[in-house]
Symmetry: C2
Subunit: 356 residues, 2 copies
């Protein structure tokens, strides 16, 4: 596995293959991450949907399974200002579904729980020392970031535009993920809110490579060895893959989500804000079709999710994916179901053979 | 120039380099097309914005400049049904701009003139025998298509989804352009109207390659040798390049358009329907920002253009690009201004060296 032409990311992270598992908050597991790591890729664990205590447990599970480096991922959005009028408009928009499902449209809601990086998570980083710390939605406050760096962790984050890439480099990121519009899940966008001008992987990667000096990791639409080779041709030093790993048995994917992934064509996904308030790509389903895909009524991230949660809770047990996010990139059809380690090894072997 | 690994498109079209000039109705010229052809690429002339007589003249000019094959391009939309209510709504939407510019919002309008392929254009094909005939927005009626094929022309068209690619192959296309969402100008979409689910080049190309047996030409976001090599890695047999050729001196680009191209970042374009009624990617300008980028008020293609034309006519002479389409893909920043033939030779030499 030493035949990769660009070794910058391999040396930066101490890995053998330039293949990063996307953290995929809510879908990744220590088993998935460690399988990727043992196969020479970079394993990742996400913290956005769990507590610091759960993060500690996940890291311990990962460390028990592998001695390889770990990428620990955090969201770093600013918690939104309360906006009762917008919340009320959103509940009114969703009220017909509540009534259809026999739910009280005025029922009390749990707060949607996506925690940004904070002191409690910093304590996890300082105690458990992930080799790489990645952020989504920009970077945390300087005070927190400096302390992450002081642990010796390499720091990376996602850029969806050249301006975001330049910002991340200026703030000291060791590498930058160029997240093309094909990518599944949340857009990392943080200097723009304009979904219409988001850039495809093919155009974004070389322009980010030209704009920054640090190594670039291509993400979005990469699911097979052709994509790995093409990303390197565009100037990337590595790739980050998400959706293709959702087909691995180690991923935690709810049955309606798995069925959607199995049958979805590339043009059946869209970028939507109806599940969380931030733009994210998923398989088009009933809520996206009716209310979105982009709705001006959706409260700020992560609050939009609060009023959607009861609809999901009432329908998912019947096997319905109507009201749950079915995150997927545009290359799901290229994925082949297999254990995650086998996928890393296959991608690496096929890519090296093509590059050879 | 014989070192290309995949020779299918080279043999199909009788060219030396797998680089197609995008036809670019309104911006291409016989000089541009012949320069590309003489350098071993495939030259193209567009007919969508001109009369059959002008097309004959352009072809004669091309043939006088080169003996290489020619790709003659046509739009093949269905002429829209009259819809006076929608026309009136569109005029009302644009009326404030008319008043700001001292124009009468009720002034008579010229019909927007984008002619679909028809008997008059068929007569041009039958008389002047372009070696390749390409269509945008699907394919023309079977009767017309059969007669095009009877001339011996190879027939190609653009797909923006896997379903469109399968349709085009079933209808007998000799090759298929996989037009990713990064591409500038009009989306070739014809089995869907949903812009939100359009697919990026990186995800679209390999899925089209997997779905059809004919060779695939990648388009969208390709402007340098990295893109050529990456497109081939994804399984394409050739590339089609548009925006990068707008920087060549042989292209016919109005001054406000050229200035926009010179300064535009990848994330300053969007897909809009405000100029023609069909989705097309261009640099975001005043009309797109105010009215779109996508407006439900815009009349069907090509009628939306009728009411925009006086606004352009009143502002472009002052150097303003506020009301004119500034078509551009997302990779304009990668383009290097040079004569078109030099660009083809440079792309080919650099790509072959990288593939080497």
């Amino acid at each position: 596995m030493s035949d990769w032409p660009d070794r910058r990311i391999l040396e930066l992270f101490g890995i053998e293959n330039p293949i990063l598992l996307a953290p995929m908050a809510g879908f990744g597991t220590p088993a998935l991450a460690s399988a990727v790591a043992e196969a020479g890729g970079l394993g990742a664990l996400a913290s956005a949907t769990i507590t610091p205590e759960q993060a500690r447990a996940d890291i311990a599970a990962y460390r028990a399974l592998t001695a390889k480096p770990l990428n620990l991922n955090f969201f770093c959005h600013r918690p939104p200002q309360p906006d009762p009028a917008r919340d009320a408009a959103w509940r009114a928009r969703l009220a017909p579904y509540y009534r259809d499902l026999g739910l009280d449209p005025d029922m009390p809601l749990s707060a949607s729980s996506r925690e940004p990086f904070n002191d409690a998570f910093l304590a996890v980083v300082e105690a458990l020392r992930p080799e790489i710390v990645s952020f989504h939605f920009g970077l945390p406050a300087r005070r927190l970031l400096d302390r992450v760096r002081a642990t010796g962790a390499k720091v990376i984050s996602s850029a969806t535009t050249v301006a975001e890439a330049r910002f991340l480099e200026a703030e000291g990121c060791d590498a930058i993920i160029a997240q093309g519009a094909e990518a599944g899940g949340h857009r990392g966008m943080f200097l723009t809110e304009d979904v219409a001008s988001q850039v495809g992987t093919f155009a974004l990667v070389p322009q980010v490579v030209d704009a920054v000096g640090v190594p670039v990791i291509a993400a979005g639409g990469i699911a097979d060895a052709r994509g790995v080779v093409a990303a390197l041709a565009l100037g990337a030093s590595a790739v980050q893959i998400g959706t293709a790993f959702l087909f691995a048995p180690e991923a935690k994917v709810a049955p309606p989500h798995r069925r959607a992934l199995d049958r979805t064509a590339a043009d059946e996904t869209a970028i939507t804000n109806v599940f969380t308030g931030r733009p994210a790509r998923g398989v088009v389903n009933r809520l996206m079709r009716d209310v979105g895909p982009l709705s001006a009524d959706a409260p700020a991230f992560p609050l939009a999710g609060g009023a959607v949660a009861p609809l999901r809770a009432a329908t998912e047990p019947q096997g319905s994916g109507d009201f749950m996010p079915l995150w997927s990139g545009q290359a799901a059809r290229l994925a082949r179901p297999m254990p995650a380690g086998d996928l890393v090894r296959m991608l690496a072997a096929e890519a090296v053979a093509r590059l050879g």
